[in-house]
Amino acid sequence: MDKYSEIERADLIDRYLTKGLSAQEKTTFEQMLQNNPSFKQDVENMEISREIIFNYGLREDIKRVRNEMSHESKPASVHTERKLFPLYAMRVAASLLLLIAAFFWFEYATLSGEKLYNEKASMYQASAYRGEPTDRQEIKNYYLNGDFVNYINAYQAAENPSVEDIFLAGNAYLHLNQTAKAIESFEKVLEIDEALKVPLFKDDAEYYLALAEVKQGNYEAAIHWFEGIENNDSHQYSDKVNTTYLWKLKFLDWAK
């Protein structure tokens, strides 16, 4: 490597880091890396520097966009152009309508609360905060390991369950098919959260409460929560609720 000038050496390191060296060059390079601590330090510095520069460039890009966006008016709405519908296409459209009607008839004929619940149900993932006391971590491990029965036992034995304990209990009850208790837990979370300055559980509890109401067959209540979520773009779960899902719920409520 001594045959290279400093600039060539820097270029070589760049090429190594972007996987641009030939097999032979790479072998020589890696030998040098092993035997020469000063060279190793150069390579590390280059790696760190590239990371810093990329990050700097990215931040500059984001800042530029941020400035542009602050001068931009509100996001434009999605525009659809009206086109004249050719007459010959009317027949095709009519056939399609029939097919769609048949599809919806089948969808609604096989619709049930359980089906709608299963469509959205997923286990709530909790992560352990490292600084948490060991005894609380042990209780939480029951939930993390899917041992909902022992989680509920430990939760019920706890003297002062925290908001997160209650929230997790709601999820555990849901998995144990004790839906009424799940609803009670989520409602309690919302009640406590509302009184706090930092209601970090609000969105989560609303979504899981809505699901619990579906499971319990309380479609009217479920519609209330899901509509609130869908109509609020800022809601963490707004992209999980759509108009079709709401229509299905309304149908079940009507057919009840």
């Binding site: 810093i52 990215l58 890009d61 966009v65 434009a76």
Partner: protein, 203 residues
């Protein structure tokens, strides 16, 4: 005339970031799609509009970095992932500001793998912000040439024209000097250098 927004799918955005395409248009799209929602989370949790802008920006930096390093597996949507990053960053900030944060455990609707990835990304971002100060000590020309080469991936042939240097070789020499200066700054700060190196190795 009504402006038309072409909405890219999550996959298109992720692929573009991974393939190192020009990011500006995708950053714009992420702003349009998710800024209001995430800003609302911050402003309803003890933050002001400026905090919302700053922390959305930080969340984007962490998000793009994690995607580039192939750590976003797409288990959840971009919205959920960005939301979780912002929550993580904002909770750290609230702790720094000594506000009473009610819960000690953070729950996100993400997989366990994603939660670990996010925590690591946020931690790494904290160190990166410290070393970024080195860039400001380089001078404008140095910053520009390094960004053009390493971020914009422009060739030295184009850089010497854009920056009005006499030749490509002059541009190369300049780039080398700037990079050397940055290395010197790293060597002068061994603690920061070591921490950042560890993060890169264990990242």
């Amino acid at each position: 005339m009504t402006k038309v927004i072409q909405k890219s799918s999550d996959k298109e955005i992720i692929d573009a970031i991974k393939n190192g395409k020009k990011l500006e248009s995708y950053i714009k799209e992420l702003y349009r799609l998710y800024f209001n929602s995430i800003a609302n989370f911050i402003t309803t949790n003890s933050g002001n509009p400026e905090d919302a802008e700053d922390f959305f920006q930080e969340a984007l930096v962490v998000f793009i970095d994690l995607v580039r390093k192939d750590k976003f597996r797409g288990d959840s949507s971009i919205k959920t992932f960005l939301y979780a990053i912002t929550k993580n960053l904002w909770l750290n900030e609230l702790k720094k500001r000594s506000r009473s944060v009610v819960r000690e455990t953070e729950y996100f609707n993400n997989t366990e793998h994603e939660t670990k990835v996010i925590q690591h990304g946020v931690n790494e971002n904290e160190w990166r912000r410290q070393v970024l100060a080195f860039m400001d000590r380089l001078g404008d020309n140095c910053k520009k040439i390094l960004v053009l080469f390493y971020y914009e991936e422009m060739s030295m042939k184009d850089i010497y024209k854009v920056m009005n240097y006499e030749s490509e070789q002059v541009a190369r020499n300049m780039k080398y000097r700037c990079m050397k200066k940055l290395h010197e700054l790293l060597d002068e700060n061994p603690k920061i250098r070591q921490s950042f190196k560890n993060l890169l190795i264990h990242g």
